[in-house]
Assembly symmetry: C2
Homo-oligomer: 192 residues x 2
DNA sequence: GTAGTTTTGTATCGATCATTACAAAACACA
DNA sequence: TGTGTTTTGTAATGATCGATACAAAACTAC
C-alpha cells in the first residue's frame, strides 16, 4: 500500500541510545542523531517523535536490557554473595572496557536532567524501585538459605547495594585502576 | 587609571557556579549566565574567558569549598566513625534540602563530560585522589586510636567510602526518603 | 578640566539549534 | 499500467547558540 521504510526501527533506536549515552541529552544534536542513525530528520521525527520522545525511548530501551541482565544474574543457582559480587564486578569491567567510558546511561541522565524533567525523574525513581526490589529479593533469598544474617533489614541492605551500584558507575568513569576497584568489592560485601 | 568594574568578580563566579551546577555545561547558555550574573556578555568574556574557562573556574570553586568542608570535619576531635557518619549524613541532608535537587556538581560534571573533555577528566581524577587521601588519613587515624581494625587496608576502605559518597549524591537526587537513606549509613559504617 | 584606560551597553556576527514544508521517489494493490 | 499511500531527500524555517565589534560611558591620574 505504501513505500516501505528503508531502515530498521529498533536498530535506529539502538544507535540513538548510544549517542545519547555518550553525549547526554543537551549535548546531542539532531544532526548527531541523523548521522549516526543514517536517516534523515523527517524520518526521525515521523518514526520516533521529537528529540525528547526519542531520548525517553532510548533510555527505556537501555533500562530494559539492564533489568533483564540483572534478573538473569539473580536467577543463577549460586551463593548469593557470589551473585552480588558478579553484579558489581561486571559493572566495573563493563565500564572500564567501554572505549568511550560512558558510564551508566541512567546515572548520566539522572545527574543531567532529573531535577528539571519530571518524566525523567519518574523514570529514575521507578528504576530505583525496581532494582531495589530485585536486590531485596536476592538478599531475602540469602537470608532464608542462611548465607546472610536474618536480623539484617533486607530493604536497607538493598538500598546500600544500590548506592554502591551507582557509586561504582561514577567512579569507574574516571578511575581505571581495575585491581583497586575490585578490591573495594570486599568492603562492600563485608557489609552484607 | 580606568573605569572600575561594576560587579564583584567572585560573586559573579558563584552565580555562574550555581547555574552550571543546576543545568550542566551543555544545558547552560551564555544568556543563562549573563542573566543570572547580571552582567553583559562582553564583560563575561573579558573577565572569565570563554564559556569553558568559566565552567572550569566554577567547578574549581565548588571543589575548593567542598574540600575545605571535608578537611574541617576531619579535624574534629570526635570518634572517627562519628566523623564519617557526619560526612555522609550531611551529604544526604544537603542534597535533600536543596530545593533545586542539583546533587553534586562534580558528579554531574563527571557523568556529563569526563569522557569527552580531558581537562575535566584530569580535574575529576585529581579530586578523587585528594578526597581518597583525606579519607585514608582519617581511617589510619582511626586505626592508630584502635577504633578501626588495623588489619584492614586504609586505601581500600577510603575507596569504598568514596564510592558511597558518589552513590549517595546520585541517589539523593531522586529518592527523598530521608529516613531510608540515613539507615543505609549503618550498612556503610558496618564495613569499616 | 583633559588625556588615557578600561568597562559597559547595544547590536550583530556566522553557525548551529530543533523542527517542518514540499515534492520527488518507491512501494502495494488494483 | 495506473492509483493511492508513505517515505525519502532537499531545503528551508525562526530561534538561539557562543562570541565580538564598536562606540559611548565612567573612572583615575595629571
Amino acid at each position: 500500500m505504501a513505500r516501505p521504510k528503508k531502515f530498521d526501527e529498533a536498530a535506529g533506536l539502538q544507535k540513538a541510545m548510544n549517542v545519547f549515552w555518550k553525549k547526554g541529552y543537551a549535548g546531542t544534536s539532531i544532526s548527531d542523531l541523523t548521522t549516526s542513525m543514517e536517516i534523515n530528520a523527517p524520518s526521525l521525527y515521523a518514526t520516533y517523535g521529537d528529540k525528547h520522545k526519542l531520548f525517553v525511548s532510548a533510555l527505556q530501551t537501555y533500562l530494559q536490557s539492564q533489568h533483564e541482565w540483572m534478573r538473569q544474574a539473580v536467577l543463577e543457582q549460586k551463593p548469593v554473595r557470589e551473585i552480588i559480587r558478579y553484579l558489581l564486578a561486571t559493572l566495573i569491567d563493563a565500564t572500564l572496557e567501554d572505549p568511550e567510558r560512558r558510564g551508566c546511561f541512567m546515572v548520566n541522565t539522572i545527574t543531567e536532567m532529573a531535577n528539571q524533567d519530571t518524566q525523567v525523574f519518574r523514570i529514575a525513581a521507578d528504576n530505583e524501585n525496581q532494582i531495589r526490589s530485585i536486590l531485596a529479593d536476592l538478599i531475602r533469598k540469602g537470608q532464608t538459605s542462611g548465607e546472610i544474617a536474618s536480623e539484617k533489614d533486607a530493604e536497607i541492605l538493598a538500598s546500600f547495594l544500590f548506592i554502591n551500584f551507582m557509586g561504582i558507575r561514577v567512579i569507574a568513569a574516571t578511575n581505571s585502576d581495575k585491581k583497586h576497584l575490585h578490591s573495594a568489592l570486599d568492603a562492600i560485601l563485608s557489609a552484607i
